[in-house]
């Protein structure tokens, strides 16, 4: 094991509790992560000392708030290696980031008959906005297929992305299959065909170093709450020249440079996108989350999560009657495991695990087209973060054996 990061657990007091009388094992990190005390304290500190509205005030608190709010933006820019902090737009979430692109920039560049390309493994937030755009513009929404392993099929990508394609929008990492997609190659492919590449980084930014300049993506979207920050703050990165031509999605205070009765001029990016009072404490706390992640090091997080996968995936695969989706090779799998136990509905699995204190998700994981593609309605999903331990993985494996036993006994009892 490279370096045991679970020492950082101590910064997450929520993990130190009993659920249904058992030690909590929180394995629902793909839905949202827990927050370290440093982030929680940052929020309190802000409201106990510096709270004011940003960008509008002459007084001392307003200046302090504005400074912290913009410093956090710089931290985000550095975190994903954006060349320019003006390319960082605060949003509510990945979902909002993707919606804004679909309803403004993409709306500006997609015309009738044009094609929008996504993949079979996308999250609803990277599907439904494109369905709407396609409908509005009479454009065509196409899906890149997957290999039998559950990876993106690059041949299919080459076939699907053509001169007709205007937009390619793909998850950087899947929230179900545990795969990381070759965004850099896809960006090249898109650009070669004159299309723009949007990466949904919701499941990547929390787990690995991100370099938007090297990836050469046109837009990159992610959520604070999946990387230690509070809910209600997300990021949209865009190349400066694209943000320049992109229309704002919302209008009002803060984003204007002047307003007359019938017309208004807007500020420059990123402020022209941030109408109204933003989530100031959320942005500042995201800055604190990034400080925390940087302290550990994103490379270390990636390596540790890989170690966890090496430990846990083979053990999961050994359970009789389990099906783990996505690649079976730990080298190709992130620490997010969607699975089913034969004959037991994933909802029942999740309820049973909850009785053992283990929090996993059950359902379609906001990826119904993927479920259809895999001929499923639902799966259970255990998703790990750096504060999880191998022991917790072992407890999951043991509990799954118990669950199997309970339901087969339960069933036979009633016969």
């Amino acid at each position: 094991m490279t370096q045991n990061l679970s020492e950082y657990r101590k910064d997450f007091p929520i993990l130190n509790q009993k659920v249904n009388g058992e030690d909590l094992v929180y394995l629902d990190n793909a839905a949202t992560t827990q927050k370290p005390i440093q982030v929680i304290d940052k929020i309190s500190h802000y409201y106990l000392n510096d709270n004011a509205n940003v960008h509008r005030g002459v007084h001392t608190l307003a200046e302090r708030a504005t400074k912290q709010f913009e410093e956090a933006r710089d931290k985000v820019a550095k975190f994903i290696n954006a060349s320019d902090q003006h390319s960082i737009v605060y949003t509510r979430s990945t979902t909002e980031s993707l919606n804004w692109i679909a309803s403004t920039f993409a709306d500006q560049v997609v015309n009738e008959g044009d094609e929008i390309v996504i993949s079979e493994m996308e999250h609803h937030s990277n599907i439904v906005p494109w369905q709407q755009l396609a409908k509005r513009k009479h454009a065509v929404l196409k899906y890149i297929q997957l290999t039998s392993d559950g990876e993106l099929d690059l041949q299919s990508a080459e076939d699907t992305i053509t001169a007709k394609t205007k937009i390619v929008s793909i998850a950087h990492a899947s929230n179900v299959l545990g795969v990381v997609n070759p965004i850099k190659e896809l960006a090249k492919l898109a650009h070669k065909n004159g299309a723009y590449l949007i990466a949904d980084g919701a499941q990547a930014a929390p787990h690995m170093p991100i370099d938007v300049s090297d990836l050469d993506v046109d837009f990159y979207a992610f959520s604070g709450h999946k990387m230690l920050a509070p809910t209600g703050i997300g990021i949209l990165y865009g190349k400066p020249e694209l943000l320049k031509i992109m229309r704002p999605a919302q209008f009002g205070g803060e984003m204007i440079s002047s307003v007359h009765e019938q017309t208004a001029e807007f500020k420059e990016s990123p402020w022209k996108f941030e109408a109204g009072t933003p989530n100031i404490s959320g942005a500042i706390a995201l800055g604190a989350a990034i400080d925390y992640l940087n302290k550990i090091g994103m490379k270390n997080i990636q390596a540790y999560e890989h170690d966890l996968t090496e430990e846990i995936l083979p053990k999961l695969l050994k359970i009789d009657g389990i099906k783990v989706y996505g690649p079976q090779d730990p080298n190709k799998h992130t620490a997010t495991f969607a699975f089913n136990l034969k004959g037991i509905h994933p909802h029942d699995v999740a309820t049973a695990l909850d009785m053992n204190g283990i929090a996993v998700r059950a359902g379609h994981h906001c990826a119904q087209p993927l479920m259809d593609y895999l001929n499923l309605t639902a799966t259970a999903r255990a998703s790990f973060y750096f504060y999880n331990t191998v022991d917790e993985g072992n407890k999951l494996v043991d509990s799954l054996e118990q669950v199997k036993e309970f339901f087969s006994n339960g069933v036979s009892e009633t016969k």
């Binding site: 009388g21 509905h345 994933p346 909802h347 009785m355 053992n356 509990s399 118990q402 309970f406 009633t414």
Partner: protein
Amino acid sequence: MGLAKLNELYKAVILDNANYPQNKREIENVPKFHMDNPTCGDSIDVFSKVSDGVIDDIAFTGSGCTISQASASIMTTVIKGKKIKKARQLISDFSQLIQGKKISDKAMDELGDAAVIGVVAEFPARIKCAALAWHAADELLNKEGGKDD
């Protein structure tokens, strides 16, 4: 606590109905109502054959977890043969029950096997599973009832 508490939820009658659901079939040429559980993607269709305000037959199709399948199965047994008004009253009682609200002894009696599902109130995340088929039946009967008036 561990898995032992599962026995509370997964009682024999529930497992039994889930594994051997009753009235799980289509009824042809009658109205049906489709409903999704957006959390998990489960979905159900409920069919009913009503004449003179009485539910002559009721059935369901679809897939789901133990709780939703058992609940759907039991629902059909409780509702079948009842008048629409009575059936909707029972659905409403059931809905109260699984939300942990107290209902009359008489209502408990009338719900019969369905009353067993009341335990789901202690597993809040599963209330929607228990409710799905009953909600669908209610919507269906609401329409049917409307026609009769």
